[in-house]
Each structure stands twice: as C-alpha cells, then as structure tokens.
Symmetry: C2
Subunit: 242 residues, 2 copies
C-alpha cells in the first residue's frame, strides 16, 4: 500500500514520529512536505484536506496520513493504525495497548516541551513571551523533565525481555518515538538533558540502538531528514536551558 | 467484567471521561476515588500502582483502569479499550479509528484549557501566575476556543447519518467526552463559551442529548458525580473569562 504523509514543510515536528516508523519499515510512502506546490505538495496540499468542504472526516491539524480511502489524523492514532501494518507492535492486544499508552505519554511530554518556548500561546512570537518562557522552562527542567525521563527509564528496566526496547523483545514505534524525543531534547536543552540523561543508561542505549539501525542510518544520510531548527517543537534558546 | 477506575479524589478531572462511558453502559465498576483509604481507596490506592516497584507496566499518571490482570493508563487509551466492550464505538475499524482521533483532539483541547490557569507550570499556584494566565486566556478565547469548537461543530455537520452524534447513527464515547467538555467550558468560561456556543447549534444539541440520557441523568442525581470545582481542570476565574 502507498501511504501519503501530510505535514508542514520545513520542520520535523510531529510528522517525524510517523516518518521514522515508515522509514524503519521501508514502507512505500510519499512525504508531501518534500514536494513543492507545483507538484502537489506544500501548504496548499495540506489545506485541501484541512479546509475542503467535501472532506467527510477532516483532521484538526497535521500530521495526517492518507491510506487508500482512509484519512487518519493525530500522530498517535496514525501510529496505532500503522503499527500492525509495518510490524512495529507486539502480537497481542494487551501489548499493543501498552505501546499506545507509552506513545500517548510521549505526546503529553511533547506538548510540555513545546510549551517551554510558547507558554502564553501560539499566536505570540517567542520574543513576545521570553520571560514567561524562562519561568516555564525552569519548572520543566526542575520537575517535568526528570519525571518523564525517570518514568521511561523505569519502563525499559521493567521490561522482562532484556534488551534496549521498551516493550518485549522487538522494536516498536514507541521506541522510535522515544529516540526522536531524546534527540530533540539534546538539541533544545543540551545542558539540562545531558545532566539528566547521565542517570538514564537504558534510555541512552535505546537512543543509540535506534539511530544505529541500518534503515534509520540510511534515512539520516538520505537528505530527506530535515535538521532540527528554530521553527519546530524542539528549539534551542540557550537562555531557557539549565 | 468488574472494572476498577483509579483517579485523584475530589475532582472530576480526566477521570470523568471514563466515568461517563462506564455509567452510560451501566458497567460494573468501582470508582476508587469514592472509597476512603481505610477501604482501599484514596491516594494510597493510586500510589500503590504509580510507585510500586512490582508493577510491570506502570501508568505515568491517573486515570488508569484495572480490568482483570490488565492495567491501562491514558484516558484516550482507556476509552479505546472500553469502547468495543461497552458498545460505545461503531462496528468497523475505520470508524473506531475516527472516534479515537476525535478523542485525541479533545485531549489536546483539554490540555489547552488546563493551561489557561497554569501557563507557567503545575508546580506554581494559580496565584503565582495570574498575569501570565490572563494573557494565555486571551489567546485561548480569541483563537483556540473558536478553532476547536468550529471544528467539532463541523464534524457533526459532516456526519452523513443525521442526528446529534459525531460519528454514525449511534452514541460513541467521543460524544460523551464532547458533552463533558462543553459542560466544563460553560463552568470555566461562562461568558466566552456562551458567546461562542451561540454559533454551534449542533454542539448544543449533542450536549443536551448526552445529559438527557436516562443513565447519565441517573448518574447526575446519584451523588456520585462530583461538582466542578477550583481544583480541577476546568476552573472558573472570572478575570480569565471574556
């Protein structure tokens, strides 16, 4: 099956969690963000689905995925759909639900990371909310960052199937997302995350194991993966770091 | 099957989305928040699962649901699990994914509503972040509230099966959550939400249709449903309203 991934051009953002799953599975997909508007890509391609009056089940926001006649929105929901198709979930229903639960907890974490630089809302620039961002970041670094990282470190530790992954013996989409999240934190908060990751050997190992996988390596060197930048969810403002 | 719902005592919070599904289906469940600590309830009952070193798949935060040997966290994930068991989803996989997508969009909405009174983080009291809360609320009322409500109004409008619901001909857990969300907004932002809801006749009808259902009525008058209050997600601070 050919998948079409719709996401904002120019940033990794939430689209990247879906891309990593598609790349790891060597799935047949078109990344609409990499096409220009003349060739059916760019923002007009997104708007056609977000604003088209004929879309029966419109997504609220990107990313969304077109798979045959289905249009699926919400990052975690897209991965819930793709997981069994791409071989990135365990066999049993309980294991799949647990993978999804971890993904949803990561989604909460991602919102909190985003809000460190935009605590007063998305309609204001960062420059208009710098002092609020500083306060929110202090709270994040002191309380939320350690709470989330300790939690996920514990999840790996309690996985009875010893190995680098969070669930069972095999890689799942939650592992791909976790590695991406760690990479993003290291970009945005190099000092705070280095200090904290020192106490999380299992997360470091998971991160490395994901980014060493041959297909992920190939993706990184393909030119298709955008670099982190100051328009995405993970932004590096030195004054917000520890 | 007997379900055990674990959530913080004293507030509706995210537990309420699960309660409404269990109540509508007349499911056999114990609400641990309504038991005192002596009888296996209260905060110690939560902590046993959140902090117990023997919990193989620990939830990050309440609510979580115990169903036989499964422990399931994340509100939307609990509803994903309960939906088919309680008869609160359509038959087909695509319809179920769409219901889940709507639930996840509501979860995003709920985070934004919460952050109107806590934009700088949960470790500070509201009183310590009043001016930031005022600015965040202005952004919320001007941009986010209309965007979300217009979206969900449109979802009902585009449901070809005419009726009060968002998906197909029958009530789903997403409808129950939507009604709860509207009720919460009317409590927290009575002025802003009244002005906005005037343009959303389908959402008003959905809200009323949910709260008129006999089992929901029985729940409301049972004494089991807590009132909205100033410790929950929806808080009424007149200075934050329009």
């Amino acid at each position: 099956m050919l998948y079409r991934l719709y996401y904002w051009p120019g940033i990794q953002g939430r689209g990247e969690y879906v891309r990593l799953a598609l790349e790891e599975a060597a799935a047949d997909y078109v990344d609409i963000a990499l096409l220009d508007a003349k060739h059916g890509g760019g923002v007009p391609a997104l708007e056609r689905w977000l604003q088209g009056a004929d879309v029966a089940r419109p997504p609220f926001a990107p990313p969304f995925l077109q798979a045959g006649r289905q249009l699926i929105g919400q990052t975690a929901n897209i991965l819930l759909f793709l997981g069994p198709r791409l071989g990135l979930v365990p066999r049993g229903a309980a294991g799949r639900l647990w993978v999804h639960q971890l993904q949803l907890t990561m989604a909460d974490f991602v919102v909190e990371i985003h809000d460190t630089h935009h605590p007063l809302g998305g309609s204001l620039y960062y420059e208009q909310q710098k002092s609020a961002a500083k306060r929110r970041s202090q709270d994040f670094i002191a309380h939320r960052l350690p709470k989330y990282l300790n939690y996920f470190e514990q999840v790996i530790d309690r996985n009875r199937a010893r190995g680098p992954w969070m669930v069972g013996r095999s890689l799942t989409y939650a592992d791909l997302s976790m590695a991406q999240l760690i990479a993003g934190l290291q970009y945005a908060f190099p000092r705070a995350s280095r200090a904290r990751m020192r106490r999380c050997p299992r997360l470091r190992r998971l991160h490395d194991a994901v980014f060493e996988r041959p297909r992920i390596q190939r993706y990184l060197s393909s030119g298709r993966r955008l670099a982190f930048n100051q328009s995405g969810i993970f932004r590096h403002y030195p004054q917000l770091d520890a």
